[in-house]
């Protein structure tokens, strides 16, 4: 049976997540121009990664679970990459 981490470590993770939320909201107060979205997405991904690894115990799962957890991300990337590429390469010469 898997029995990982302690209550304290869970709460520490939570504090980290709260901190990152503050950072997200804070960062939104400044205008980084084209970097607004990437910055927001990077912070969100760090948060998501922390939730997945610690709250969802992905850290302790086997390789198979990692494959199933990450493959949809790849597909999502494909879906977005191809559709966006299409949308912005339609200029006709």
């Amino acid at each position: 049976m898997d029995n990982h981490g302690s209550y304290k470590s869970l709460i520490n993770i939570w504090i980290l997540l709260m901190f990152l939320t503050v950072v997200t909201v804070g960062a939104a107060q400044f205008d980084f121009g084209a970097w607004n979205v990437p910055i927001a997405l990077i912070i969100a991904s760090v948060k998501a990664g922390v939730v997945a690894l610690h709250f969802m115990h992905l850290k302790h799962e086997d390789g198979l679970t990692w494959v199933f957890a990450s493959y949809p991300l790849f597909l999502l990337f494909l879906l977005i990459a191809f559709t966006v590429t299409d949308m912005f390469s339609r200029v006709v010469n």
Partner: protein, 531 residues
């Protein structure tokens, strides 16, 4: 307990409830088989009428609107109610646990719920027929937003069916990971299981995208969301992207299990190990992965950008290669074999030939310049049916005959079944081969009316449906009337695990979980030097 063990799964419980609430994977498989059989027949009748309409140009027996409704009914029913859940859910359910040496799938109850969801989705779909859709099975926007038909209900039905598909896929994947008998390593896994595994992956990962797409389409009709409606600043091509992101992998959801079936049938009736086991197994996986990358080849003339067209064309040819490899592997399994032309074998051999034609005509459509001419003509219709009928349905029929003794515990009349095969084979080719020529000549698909110069080819195609229908009825007739006497446990001397038990199997499949020590296709006693 021992009393119960002696009963086979068909005898274990009688009446409606003993089936409807069963968690026995074999009974669930049989129920799927009945359900998809019914929908197949309804959809086939629709196509029969559609073809009949084409006996003459202009109105023959129905109005243009009825025609549009019927081809939509035929397409959507065949795709969503028959062929996608078809082979995977029916034969997959029945066979996977038997083949891997398990007593059931890993989530038996979930399996039952999946079946109920399937029925629920089908029911919603049927209710929608009160104002049947005339959008084509592709539901392209903005026509599907504006059409007066019951598009919301029908797409909601498909949404539910999608969930059934996803849950079945999850069930199979986890079952194959967790419940393989000791010694049933991945390189001893029957190829049908490999195919079912790849299929399940596609079901799990592709279906949600069509789910959200149809949900958004419903939102378009309810709220006017505008994502897919040019009048509201949306983009109809985006709908097509989302739709084909699912529907191209769905083509492989349809064909992969059939490939798995004939990979089982051919070695048994050639008494040879399957040629290139690993190549076929990995090709299944490769197809499952690459098939996510080629959806745009359905959209070469849709207004997609030129760059994306070129990219998709390249990747499309990449997916052609593993498919070609499979065909040659099946072919070479026959080499120096001891070939018995049973009905199941005939269907499998026909699969190889017809699927080859289907695949080769795909090469036309993948080529950008040629596709500009052929897109949305009868060529596409013919190509698709060579893959879906010549491939999937022939594979499905092969399975019906091959596992018939195992499923029902009886044998059938091989002679009549072979006559039925000949009729179906001839009928099929007479229906669809002329359509290739119609297509290259420029006859568009989904046309109620057509120019008089196309009439002779259209008529030929319609006559084919009569031959095919006769064959299909004869096949049903034969299968519905089994020969007297009990079928032996292993009538074909197969080495696969499902034949190692009585026909039909007992409720719990195996009294004791077997231990596997040999490769699954260990035919061939004459040892030759390996190259």
């Amino acid at each position: 307990m021992s009393q119960e063990q002696e009963k086979n799964y068909l005898e274990n419980g009688e009446g409606f409830a003993s089936w409807f609430f069963t968690v026995d994977h074999k009974r669930i498989g049989i129920m799927y088989l009945w359900a998809i059989g019914v929908f197949f027949i309804i959809a086939a009748i629709a196509s029969f009428l559609v073809r009949f309409e084409h006996l003459t140009p202009g109105q023959t027996i129905m109005t243009a609107h009825t025609y549009n409704v019927l081809f939509t009914l035929h397409g959507s029913m065949m795709v969503f109610l028959f062929i996608v859940p078809g082979v995977a859910a029916s034969f997959g359910n029945f066979l996977i646990p038997l083949m891997i040496g398990a007593k059931d799938v890993i989530f038996p109850k979930l399996n039952l719920y999946s079946f109920w969801l399937y029925l629920l989705g089908a029911a919603v779909f049927m209710i929608a027929l009160a104002a049947p859709a005339d959008t084509g099975w592709t539901f392209y926007t903005p026509y599907s937003i504006e059409s007066g038909a019951n598009v919301i209900l029908i797409t909601f039905g498909i949404f539910i069916l999608g969930f059934s598909s996803i849950l079945t896929g999850i069930n199979f994947i986890v079952t194959m990971h967790k419940l393989r008998a000791p010694g049933m390593t991945w390189d001893r896994l029957p190829l049908f299981c490999w195919a079912a595994y790849a299929t399940s992956l596609l079901q799990v990962l592709a279906t949600p995208v069509v789910g959200i797409t149809l949900l958004l389409l419903i939102g378009e009709r309810f709220f006017g969301l505008g994502f897919f409606d040019p009048a509201r600043g949306g983009d109809p091509v985006l709908f097509q992207h989302f739709f084909w992101f699912y529907s191209h992998p769905a083509v492989y959801i349809m064909i992969l299990p059939a490939m798995g079936i004939i990979s089982e049938v051919i070695p048994v009736f050639s008494r040879k190990p399957i040629f290139g086991y690993k190549a076929i197994a990995y090709a299944s996986l490769a197809i499952a992965l690459i098939s996510f990358l080629v959806w745009g080849h359905h959209m070469f003339v849709s207004g997609q950008s030129k760059l994306i067209n070129v990219i998709f064309s390249v990747i499309t040819y990449a997916v052609a290669v593993p498919t070609a490899i499979k065909v040659f592997n099946w072919l070479w399994t026959l080499y120096k074999g001891s070939i018995e032309l049973s009905t199941a074998m005939l269907y499998s051999l026909a699969f190889i030939f017809l699927f080859t034609i289907g695949g080769l005509t795909g090469l036309f459509l993948g080529a950008l310049a040629a596709d500009v001419h052929l897109h949305d003509t009868y060529f596409v219709v013919a190509h698709m049916h060579y893959v879906m009928i010549g491939g999937t349905v022939f594979g499905f029929f092969a399975a019906l005959h091959f596992w018939y003794p195992k499923m029902w515990g009886r044998m059938f009349d091989e002679f009549k079944a072979k006559i039925a095969f000949v009729l179906i084979f001839i009928g099929f080719n007479v229906i669809f081969f002329p359509q290739f020529i119609l297509g290259t000549l420029g006859m568009p698909r989904r046309y109620f009316n057509y120019a008089p110069e196309f009439q002779s080819l259209h008529q030929l195609s319609t006559y084919g449906t009569w031959i095919g229908a006769a064959g299909f009825i004869l096949m049903l007739w034969t299968l519905m009337r089994p020969l007297p006497g009990k079928a032996p446990g292993n009538p074909y001397r197969s080495l696969s695990l499902e034949w190692s038990m009585d026909s039909p199997p007992g409720t719990f499949n195996f009294d004791e979980i077997p231990t596997i020590t040999e490769p699954v296709y260990n035919y061939g006693t004459k040892i030759e030097e390996e190259s």
